[in-house]
Every structure is written in C-alpha cells, then in structure tokens.
Amino acid sequence: MGMGKNISIELLESQVRARARLLDDRAPSTCEAIWNALQSPLEATALHGVWTGRCLEIDLPDSHRTFNADDIPLENATTTPVIGDLLWMYLPGGQARSLFEGAWNVMLAYGPEAVMRTPLGPHPSNVWAEITEADPGFYEACAKQWFGKAERIRIARLG
C-alpha cells in the first residue's frame, strides 16, 4: 500500500473495479468527512447524471450521511471535471425546484463533457479523490449506464 488514503470503487454487476487516491492535501475537509463516512463500505445505485453529462451520480444513503455537509467549504473545486475525478456535489434541500430534496452526491466523472451543474446553474464541486488504477473495461462499464440499467456500486476504504 502506498502513502495516503485509498478507496476501491466497484460496479457490482459488471464486476469491474478501480482504485482512487484521496486528495487530503487539497480537499482536507471533504476527504475527512467522506473517509469517516466510509467507516462501513457504501453500497448504492449509481444513476447516470441527467444535467451533468458523462458522470455517475451516487446519492449517499442516510447511513453514510454522517457529517454536516454545510460545514464543508469549497476546496479544490471545479465545474469541468476530468476522467477519473470523484467529486462532492451538495445542494441543501428546498433550494431548487427540480432537486427539491437536495443532493448529497458523490459524482464519478467517467468521460469527457462532464459538467458540474444543477438546474440552478454551474455548481462548483470539490474534487476529493482521483482514480489511479482501473480495471480494463471500468470506464466502458460506467458509460454503459447511460443506455443501460443503473448498477449497484460499492465504495470501500483500502488499507
């Protein structure tokens, strides 16, 4: 194991995995919050983005909403992620007509032309991890989610 914190990301039906490195130095608050939330592995459905282009949207289940999202500042944020970026996209409930319930999303940018935005406009989102290794076929499996069935995804700490 290398230095720093790493996580695994697995698409459970396609059975492909990737490894991502947390960007503690650039996004310390986000990394701490998400690392703590991953005390137990996260399993959720990875829906395809609908306003955001080539990314998967992982809505954190209640079990993993273990931090105060309002306390996370903008850090290492972007609206134009690159392939392999993991982002934190948060929108409080009640603010947006078409996302009235709000958003507690980990976004996985898997291709070009991903854009962080909500119906309210550009939405700078913290890049808190980047994929450093991916199985052959990992990004293709992500892309398949557009026309295909939304898969279950598992995100877990690595030693």
Partner: protein
C-alpha cells in the same frame, strides 16, 4: 384538421398524444409527418445534459425529407414541459452522442417532460406539444433512467 401523434410505451402500454404545431412550425411538421407515414419503433433514451428530456433517435426508415433545409421555426433555448422539439446533426456532427449512433446522421425527436431543461447547445424548433399523457411520459422517463432504454411506438393518430 389538427394533426396528432400517438406515443406508446411497448413495455407498459402508457400513451401520450402530441399535437403538431403546423401554423408555428410548418416545414418541420411536414418533415415529421412525412417521416411517420409508417409508425416509428425506437428506443426511448434519457438525456444526460438537458435534464428532463426523453429522446427518440428516428430510425433510417423514418427519415423522409431533407432536415438540412429546415429553417428555425418556433425555436427556443428555453423549452417548456410538454414541448416536442427536433434537432438534426450530420454524422459525426457532435461528440455528445452514444457510440452506437454517433457515426450516422441523427434525427433527434425529443420531449421535455418536466421543468428546468438546459438546452446547452442553443435553440431548437418546437414543432409539437404533448396534449395528453405528459405525467405518464415523466414516469416512463424515470424508469428508463433506472432500468435503461425502453422501446416505444410513435404513429399518426389523425
């Protein structure tokens, strides 16, 4: 007589009715109507940039006319729920589309099923409006997002 189309999910049987806006978009309406001389069977695809959009890529056998000759008619970049729009792109005209369709000319027949669409690419012609069944189309679209594309039939109603 007002021209109408019927849209039917071949999975659930849910239907919707689209009224053509012949007065506002006469040339686009003619192209769509001519193209549907035979019913169109195609997959309903959920948008990934526009938001609440259900998209039909018109198959080759339902491409009648020359979309490169169409002027903007009744066009907008801010479509409203229930608006039905058309966009044409030549083969390889956009990096956006799915690998399986990008290498062919794209006749994109799309329906705005809810509020807050973002037409990032500019304006498109609104040639129809959903008169009945918009809520059913919104339900179908949610299912498509979770389960993948589903087949629909689109045919002339009157």
């Amino acid at each position: 007589m007002t021209k109408k189309l019927r849209i039917e999910s071949l999975v659930t049987g849910a239907t919707a009715v689209v009224r053509l806006l012949e007065k506002e978009a006469p040339q686009t309406c003619r192209l769509i109507w001519d193209s549907l001389e035979q019913p169109m069977v195609t997959e309903g695809i959920h948008a990934m940039w526009v938001g609440p959009e259900l998209m039909f890529v018109m198959p080759k056998e339902n491409q009648k006319g020359d979309p490169t000759k169409l002027p903007p008619e009744n066009a907008t970049a801010f479509p409203y729920p229930g608006d039905v729009l058309f966009m044409y792109l030549p083969a390889h005209g956009s990096k956006h589309y799915h690998d399986s369709i990008r290498d062919k000319p794209i006749w994109d027949f799309f329906i705005i099923y809810g509020p807050d669409p973002i037409l990032g690419g500019g304006s498109c012609t609104v040639w129809g409006v959903v008169d009945e069944g918009l809520a059913a189309l919104a339900e179908e679209s949610k299912r498509i997002r979770a389960e993948g594309t589903k087949p629909f039939r689109v045919e002339r109603l009157s």
